[in-house]
């Protein structure tokens, strides 16, 4: 139990004394409350510490060590992992030359994740608006249909896309059957396939937060805007989108971040030809046996994500202040 601290001095007289005693008592109560709060928080703090901060610290330390011959690390400090990220070491004379190999992987990943986010927003927004405009008793059915794919493993779903778009898949076979094309369209193992897979995998993460904010939209506001000479597009731009902004921000974050680190989708649909960040990191801990470089790549990814989040939230916050 929490013991109340002893009053600092003997009780004083009169109003002044009352005020002083009151302050002491208040401080004691506040102190107790603070301690109780920490006690209640401790389970989650322990989880965050053990499963979040601790592994992150290991990753940070490993990224500054040398790779072991058969995986793992040897305890020698070096910044090689970070140097390797930007420069190529010549095999013969050890000179460093600037290399965009890994930067381009990051660039591609950011481009694909960004594209998938925009795509998911463009597809998800009408979906969410459609559901939100249905009578309340029908909405749950539609939401159920949106979340239905989650009942199947991501790996299986990605294989399903693979089966649909491969050369012998249903699209190519039926297009050839109709005589529209002679040879199969090479859809599989392209950036387009990865893009499609990312949108498909993460679309529900976009739809659900969008729905949550559109559902709260007062339709009277839409009517009021129509009444005040706003066309359909102006209503969308000036009323619906600003009101749905929290949902748009949440949906974009929820699609962009897992999209950036996606592993299964580029592995299966991209055929591992062109790497995304997730594949690069996995490769370092597997085939390449370069744990420090894998750790460095993961940390760089984290920094990129955090920086883009900060920029995004700043931007979104500024917009709100202007409104």
């Amino acid at each position: 139990m929490v013991a109340l601290p002893e009053p600092q001095s003997q009780p004083k007289r009169g109003a002044e004394a009352n005020a002083a005693n009151l302050a002491v008592a208040r401080k004691a109560i506040e102190g107790g409350a603070r301690r109780r709060r920490w006690q209640l928080l401790s389970p989650s703090m322990i989880v965050i510490g053990v499963f979040g901060l601790f592994p992150l610290t290991i990753t940070l330390i490993y990224s500054f060590l040398s790779p072991g011959n058969f995986g793992g690390v040897t305890w020698e400090f070096t910044t090689d992992a970070y140097v390797q990220f930007l420069f190529e070491r010549d095999i013969f004379d050890d000179t460093l030359s600037f290399s965009t190999t890994y930067l381009s992987i990051y660039g591609r990943s950011i481009g694909l994740a960004f594209g998938a986010t925009v795509g998911a927003l463009l597809i998800g927004f009408p979906m969410a608006y459609f559901i939100a405009s249905k009578p309340p008793e029908q909405r749950n059915l539609w939401l159920f249909l949106i979340t239905l794919p989650f009942w199947t493993n991501l790996l299986i779903r990605t294989y399903a896309i693979l089966l649909i778009i491969r050369d012998e898949g249903i699209i190519n076979v039926s297009l050839q059957g109709m005589g529209l094309i002679d040879a199969p369209l090479g859809m599989l193992y392209t950036d387009g396939a990865v893009f499609l897979g990312l949108i498909y995998s993460y679309l529900p993460f976009m739809v659900l937060p969008l729905y949550a904010s559109l559902e709260k939209l007062d339709f009277k506001l839409v009517e009021a805007a129509y009444d005040l000479y706003a066309t359909r597009f102006q209503v969308l731009r000036h009323i619906i989108v600003p009101m749905a902004k929290p949902g748009i921000v949440a949906g974009c974050i929820l699609v962009f971040i897992p999209g950036l680190g996606a592993y299964i989708t580029p592995e299966l649909l991209g055929g591992g030809k062109e790497l995304m960040i997730g594949n690069l990191i996995a490769l370092q801990f597997g085939g390449s046996r370069n744990w420090p470089f894998g750790s460095a790549a993961a940390l760089i990814l984290m920094v990129v994500v955090m920086l883009s989040l900060i920029v995004y939230v700043r931007y979104a916050g500024k917009e709100r202040a202007h409104g």
Binding site: D218, K220, L221, E223, A224, A225, Y226, D227, L228, Y229, A230, T231, Q234, H238, I239, P242, M243, R320, G323
Partner: protein, 354 residues
């Protein structure tokens, strides 16, 4: 009112609006025709579900008529979208845009019309002054009180200078004192701007206070249209008489001439018929409690059955020999319960059409 006050601004011609289908079909408006004049404060009055809000929404363009036409200043507008109609609405709960300041709310309509910024800013200032809200231009709308939100909603709807301003029970969310203030304020705005106001309410007192003319609605139909005094003193229908104020309705026989009614006790009185109606035989007549008084020379006899005191006067319930009851409003000392009284009736009795 100006000299063109008798020109028609809105003409609804045989407008029917139905919702749903088959068994669940609802006739919200049933073959309604009404002409609303320029520069007039016109009120649609009726209980909830009478179709008054539906008629307003048809004029605004939020609903399209199932049948019939709506003309605005001579132009057919019944099937135009709301943003193509020179009509603005003040909504029941104001529907102010919560993500915009007071000033941007007011300027929204003009901005959407693509007016130059200087003109929009000028109109915002003018409207803020009109509703006395200059000091709150930069506020967010959720930081305003109910009355202030009401003023912003009015300013927002008036800023684009619409031909018609529609008001959908705009005062119902305000407390009594504020409501009285806003009634006067609305009337002032209407006469200052010269815009035709179409006002929807279920509050008969509000309608009587503010309107140039009132349309009383029930069950999807307009029962009577007229100035407040006419609606009050010469109700044409039983529903109108009953809905507005207190009234006594008595059975009577109307002479074939249409000039005289005979009450159940045999008392003959001059009759006043609703305009354009020829009635005869068994009818109902309506008498306001305040149009009757106790007078030893009064023509009607009865026994006081109950006296209800309410401050400025009393309502005296009198049982008539015919078995009917009437209520007489008495400003002075009321007769006691059980007293035999004589009642003086108004010069002519209003005959109801149903």
């Amino acid at each position: 009112m100006s000299e063109n006050s008798l020109e028609t601004m809105i003409l609804a011609d045989s407008v029917t609006k139905t919702f749903g289908q088959g068994d669940s079909l609802v006739r919200a408006l049933d073959d309604v025709s009404v002409a609303i004049r320029k520069n007039e404060f016109f009120t649609l009055l009726g209980p909830s579900g009478c179709g008054k809000t539906t008629l307003l929404r048809l004029i605004a363009g939020f609903e399209l008529p199932s049948k019939g036409t709506i003309l605005l200043d001579g132009q057919e507008i019944g099937h135009l979208p709301p943003y193509k109609r020179p009509v603005n609405t003040v909504f029941q709960n104001y529907a102010l845009f919560p993500h915009m300041s007071v000033a941007r709310n007011i300027g929204f309509g003009l901005e959407m019309q693509g007016r130059p910024k200087a003109e929009v800013d000028g109109a915002i200032d003018e409207m803020l002054a009109l509703v006395q809200m200059e000091h709150l231009a930069g506020r967010r709308t959720d930081q305003l009180s109910g009355g202030q939100q009401q003023r912003v909603a009015l300013a927002r709807a008036l800023a684009p200078h619409p031909k018609v301003l529609l008001l959908d029970e705009p005062l119902s969310a305000l407390d009594l004192k504020l409501r009285k203030e806003m009634q006067i304020e609305l009337k002032r705005l209407q006469s200052e701007t010269g815009i035709t106001f179409v006002f929807v309410t279920h509050d008969q007192e509000e309608a009587l206070t503010m309107s140039d003319r009132i349309a009383v609605m029930a069950a999807g139909q307009i029962l009577q249209v007229g100035p407040p005094r006419e609606i009050y003193t010469q109700p044409a229908r039983r529903f109108v008489a009953d809905f507005i104020g207190d009234i006594n309705i008595l059975e009577a026989d109307l002479a074939a001439s249409g000039k005289e009614v005979t009450l159940q006790g045999g008392l003959k009185m001059p009759a006043q018929l609703p305009e354009g109606l020829a009635l005869s035989g068994r009818v109902s007549v309506a008498i306001r409690p305040e149009d009757m008084s106790f007078d030893p020379k009064g023509a009607m006899r009865g026994t006081v059955s109950n006296v209800v005191y309410f401050g400025v006067g009393s309502n005296v319930h009198v049982a008539l020999p015919s078995g009917e009851d009437v209520t007489v409003r008495c400003a002075g000392v009321a007769p006691e319960k059980g007293a035999e009284v004589r009642i003086k009736l108004p010069a002519a009795l209003q005959v109801l059409a149903d």
